[in-house]
């Protein structure tokens, strides 16, 4: 399996993931989300193999621009991502490669059937309206900045915890990182769906090696706990600032969810100390 396939899989995962948030047909969006999860798992299977074989790989990747205007174009955008992976995989008889190719061919064929979709994509139109409602200017500014900051942060955490799983030996630590990955995926999905409604959906910038390959797990967790406290504070401030009840409840919910993360990170710290 070519080393660069890891980067292509990473790109493919993000193409499907962010398209799943972008489309207005939520039933199809959820199916795309499930496919994106399959692609994420492919990437992680390949990562495990590369770690075992001591093959260099990287989570760094090129920027991904979302520019499609219709759901048909969205399907082509995802299809292109899948085909790029297939081009780099060969039928070497390796069982993992065969399974991945089988999955990708199926997903590719389902996407081909969606090429003629005509539904409009409004996730990047910068309308800055939430369900057709204009928010008050200061609430909107705070919300927009928060969503950009936090969508990057959640993506960054998914990458960091994914990488962290390859370097820890404790089974419990691995489990803690898996819970944190799942939590961050949920937060990313929640924030990205809000961004799509506001017309400002974008794939976060890449996470560089200097960030995800931390020098000290202890320092990373200690700083991470402080960052989670900072995120709690931001959610609390935002819940107070927004003049919209559903949004206020949502940010209160996210604020209190950060408590799970802090508890898990503290437990992880105790394990390594």
């Amino acid at each position: 399996m070519a080393e660069r396939v890891f980067t292509t899989m990473h790109e493919g995962w993000l193409r499907l993931l962010f398209t799943s948030f972008a489309v207005n047909d939520r039933e199809w969006g959820e199916r795309l989300y499930d496919y994106s999860e399959i692609l994420y798992r492919h990437m992680r299977f390949v990562e495990t193999l590369f770690v075992e074989k001591k093959i260099e790989y990287s989570y760094e990747r090129p920027s991904i621009a979302l520019e499609f205007k219709s759901e048909g174009e969205a399907a082509r955008f995802c299809h292109e991502g899948i085909e790029k992976i297939l081009e780099q995989m060969n039928e070497s008889g390796d069982p993992l490669a065969s399974r991945i190719i089988h999955d990708l061919r199926y997903i590719s064929s389902t996407l081909e059937r969606e090429f003629e979709r005509e539904g409009e994509v409004t996730a990047f139109d910068k309308s800055l309206k939430l369900d057709g409602v204009e928010l008050e200017k200061s609430s909107l500014d705070a919300l927009v900045l928060f969503l950009f900051e936090e969508s990057y942060k959640e993506y960054e955490l998914i990458i960091i915890y994914s990488y962290a799983q390859t370097v820890v030996e404790s089974k419990r630590l691995f489990e803690i990182f898996q819970i944190l990955i799942d939590e961050s995926k949920f937060h990313l999905k929640s924030f990205a769906l809000l961004m799509a409604k506001l017309g400002i959906l974008a794939v976060p910038r890449m996470v560089t090696q200097e960030i995800y390959r931390f020098d000290s797990l202890k320092r990373f967790l200690t700083e991470g706990i402080e960052e989670e406290k900072g995120a709690k504070e931001q959610c609390r401030a935002l819940a107070e600032a927004v003049d919209e009840e559903k949004l206020r409840e949502f940010f209160d919910f996210i604020n209190f969810q950060e408590d799970y993360h802090i508890t898990l990170m503290k437990e992880a710290l105790e394990i390594i100390e």
């Binding site: 900045l145 974008a202 560089t208 900072g230 504070e233």
Partner: protein, 153 residues
Amino acid sequence: MDTKEIYETTMDHMMNPRNYGKLENPDAVGIGKNPQNGEMVIIYLKIENEKIEDIKFQAKACMTTVIAGSIFTQTVKGATLKEARELTSIMLEKVKQMPPEEAACSELVAEAFLAALEHHETRGKDLEAPVPTRMIENECADQSLQKEGVENG
């Protein structure tokens, strides 16, 4: 540029930051760092005939810094080193007029760029010259907010 245009430009750079990433085999690299919270910007340069052929940046920092990096790198790409240096001086002068908590983001980018120019000069004499880091003087808005949050709450 009116307020609406500024808002749209800012949004555009937030959604698609320009020149974000790394350059393979750069001619110069520079780091701008906030000593108070560890936030930093790294700038990579490809220079040919005293002209910036290519530029990329990475930021371990807030979104405002990413916007500043995106706009700055887009502006200096293709400029001569002299022009880019002049632009950076103007930017740093403007930074002095801003409230400190708003100034830190632009300052991080400007200092990283100046560090990269410094690296370019020292590499002229020594190819193995280490990558310089320049520290900023202002404090980031996020830090002020966090402190405020802790104090208030």
